[in-house]
């Protein structure tokens, strides 16, 4: 099986699905001539032409609405946000239009579309370019929200998202694009709504998604050296969340740490905590702890940015705490 980057896995998924269904098109800023701000759409313009790979003006609200309209008229748009930071301008179309059209129309208008792009902080991009929106999106009924951590999941989940007849928010990561992993070049799907146990252990359950799964895995490796083993539950899909996968693990380990990129208050981790305490109340040996970004806008200052981000040491510290190790 070929080892390729997360970026190329996404590119492969786009190419395969655009070949498979000619109603699928990609629209966004710099996706065509420029080959994608992060080169995810490399070669697609040349392969599929300008009607199916469309550069837009800088109008997140507008071109997201264009996607909504195209979906209502029977196409299957993939709307790329150069980064999810800019999607803030488009949320009215995502929430009030895409997520509600099926319901408001009494079931007449499904919205088969994908909203995708990098989410979360990269390096020193400052306050306006370093945000993680999964908790906001997960709040909204009518949406599905996906955040793959590995190249394999990236390809399989993007293909699943494109084939899904519902609006799917697909969260990538600038820091993930260059990560590598084994990716079959055949036509496989990773089902939306299913978490994966990326590491099996006995003592603690680590719940995470997207980029932070890599941190959780590192933490599991490090703890293993002390003889402490962790279940690493990769949510993969944030909405609908695979609650069974989480509770099954916690019922086994009795301890849980949630690691996420975003801010604390009303974050994804808060919802995980809610599920865990509700369904595993009698199993828990310690409060569920959370690792997340500091409750501050992201600073440009290098050392402060590092301090603001969730990372391995913070994750290890939380794990030790739920184990009452120090």
């Amino acid at each position: 099986m070929a080892v390729i980057t997360y970026r190329d896995a996404l590119n492969m998924a786009l190419r395969e699905e655009m070949h498979r269904d000619d109603r699928v098109f990609l629209m966004g800023e710099e996706v065509a001539v420029y080959q994608g701000a992060y080169k995810v759409s490399k070669g697609l313009l040349q392969e599929f032409g300008e009607m199916r790979v469309v550069d837009t003006p800088i109008t997140e609200l507008g071109f997201t609405g264009v996607g909504v309209g195209a979906a209502m008229a029977g196409l299957r748009p993939i709307i790329e946000f150069m980064t999810w930071n800019f999607a803030l301008l488009a949320l009215d179309q995502v929430v009030n239009a895409a997520a509600k059209m099926l319901y408001m129309s009494g079931g007449q208008f499904p919205m088969p579309m994908v909203f995708r792009g990098p989410n979360g902080a990269a390096l020193q991009l400052g306050a306006q370019h370093s945000q993680a929106w999964e908790s906001w999106l997960a709040h909204i009924p009518g949406l599905k929200v996906v955040a793959p951590a590995t190249p394999y999941d990236a390809k399989g989940l993007l293909k699943a998202a494109i084939r899904d007849d519902n609006p799917v928010c697909f969260l990538e990561g600038e820091m993930l694009y260059n990560t590598k992993g084994e990716v079959p070049d055949d036509d496989y799907i990773v089902p939306i709504g299913k978490a994966e146990l990326k590491r099996e252990g006995e003592h603690v359950t680590l719940v995470s998604h997207g980029k932070m799964v890599l941190v959780a895995l590192q933490a599991a490796d490090q703890m293993a050296k002390e003889g402490i083993t962790c279940d690493v539950v990769d949510l993969r899909t944030i909405r609908p969340m695979d609650v069974d996968a989480i509770t099954a693990s916690v019922k086994k380990t009795s301890r849980c740490v949630v690691v996420e990129e975003g801010w604390e208050v009303c974050g994804v981790g808060a919802q995980v905590v809610d599920y865990v305490q509700r369904h595993c109340f009698d199993y828990l040996d310690a409060p569920v702890l959370r690792v997340h970004q500091a409750d501050a806008p992201m600073p440009y200052t290098k050392s402060l940015e590092k301090a603001a981000k969730p990372d391995l040491p913070k994750t290890i510290a939380a794990i030790r705490q739920v184990l009452y190790l120090d």
Binding site: P57, G62, V66, A70, M72, Q93, M104, S105, G106
Partner: protein, 345 residues
């Protein structure tokens, strides 16, 4: 010359009637019928709202019927329409049955959206009626997207996007019109300029008052039209449709009209932001009265004919109320339905 198909009594002007611009008696009769149906329907809607059969926000179209009827009478069955929360008139003009419309307003399961949408969110996929949208400006980019899909498939349909004049100041309008022109999307952007956005007069919201001129920012064909004259509306619309079908060129039409009722059922007809005198001035140009008068003068219809048509329409509207009354609400489990579909492609 009219090419209108024979229309069964009581059947509203069909979207596929494909009436050409012209003044044939049959066409004019269809137009009168369509406008009168909207008028009588909404007069009863106001009653039904007053006695609590209809809830939420309810925006009447009374006074603007020449626009819905004039524009939509020229559409093909495979064309698309999208509009605002003020959507009853266009839905009926497109051929939604009064029963489906009234049941929706009552929130019943035989409504055009099973009662889940309500007054502001009428939808009918069969009719290419893409809704009733509640966020001012929000549906304009959606219209451009429908135009994009038409072009993508190489079709010659058009999408008509109705909006109020206040929406023209919103960023969504600007972004959508630029893309529609840049990409040559077959869209008709119809501004129903009824002079007020809720309580705000056009002059207090827009830096220019001939708002069709904003089309110039997008190099888009544009024009201003008398919205009380259904023939004028049709003339301008036919040109725009031709442009759109030929090579996808979009058009911006500012159609000047007036809202005879309050902004919504919870707004007084006049008082705070517009005077009784102003209202009365505009009431003199009732689109239905003007069209009817023209027909009578041309000898195309007699007062007796009109009275008969009116009676027939009132019956149809009463029937829609009776129908809505007995239509049930969706069962409670429907609350959690239509959120997502199970299918994939």
């Amino acid at each position: 010359m009219s090419t209108a198909k024979p229309r069964k009594k009581g059947e509203p002007v069909r979207a596929d009637a494909n009436v050409a611009v012209g003044t044939s008696a049959a066409t004019n009769r269809d137009l009168l019928y369509s406008m009168l149906l909207q008028r009588r329907f909404e007069e009863r809607v106001a009653e039904m709202y007053a006695i609590g059969r209809i809830g939420g926000f309810c925006h009447l179209y009374i006074g603007q019927e020449a626009i819905s009827t004039g524009v939509i009478s020229l559409l093909r069955a495979d064309d698309y329409i999208i509009t605002t929360y003020r959507d009853h008139g266009q839905a009926l003009a497109r051929g939604m049955t009064p029963r489906a419309a009234m049941a929706e307003l009552f929130g019943r399961q035989d409504g055009c959206a099973k009662g889940k949408g309500g007054s502001m969110h009428m939808f009918d996929k069969q009719l290419g009626f893409l809704g009733g949208h509640g966020i001012v400006g929000g549906h304009i980019p959606i219209a451009a997207g429908v135009g994009f899909a038409i072009k993508y498939r190489g079709g010659d349909q058009v999408i008509v996007c109705f909006m109020g004049e206040a929406a023209v100041n919103n960023g969504a309008f600007h972004e959508a019109l630029n893309m529609a022109s840049l990409w040559k999307l077959p869209c008709l952007f119809i501004i129903e300029n009824n002079r007020y956005g809720m309580g705000t007069a056009l002059e207090r919201a827009s830096a220019i008052h001939d708002i069709y001129k904003r089309g110039a920012s997008y190099d888009m064909p544009r024009g201003v039209v008398d919205g009380q004259d259904v023939h004028a509306v049709r003339a301008a619309t036919e040109e725009a449709i031709d442009r759109a079908r030929t090579d996808g060129t979009p058009t911006l039409l500012e159609i000047r009209t007036y809202r005879f009722m309050g902004h919504s059922m919870s707004d007084a007809v006049s008082g705070t932001y517009r005077t009784k005198e102003e209202l009365e001035h505009y009431l003199k140009r009732d689109p239905i009265a003007l069209h009817r008068q023209r027909m009578e003068e041309a000898g195309e219809i007699t007062p007796a004919d009109v009275a008969a048509m009116d009676e027939e329409i009132k019956k149809i509207v009463q029937d829609s109320i009776d129908f809505a009354e007995q239509s049930p609400e969706l069962p409670l489990e429907a609350l959690m339905e239509d959120i997502l579909v199970e299918t994939t492609s």
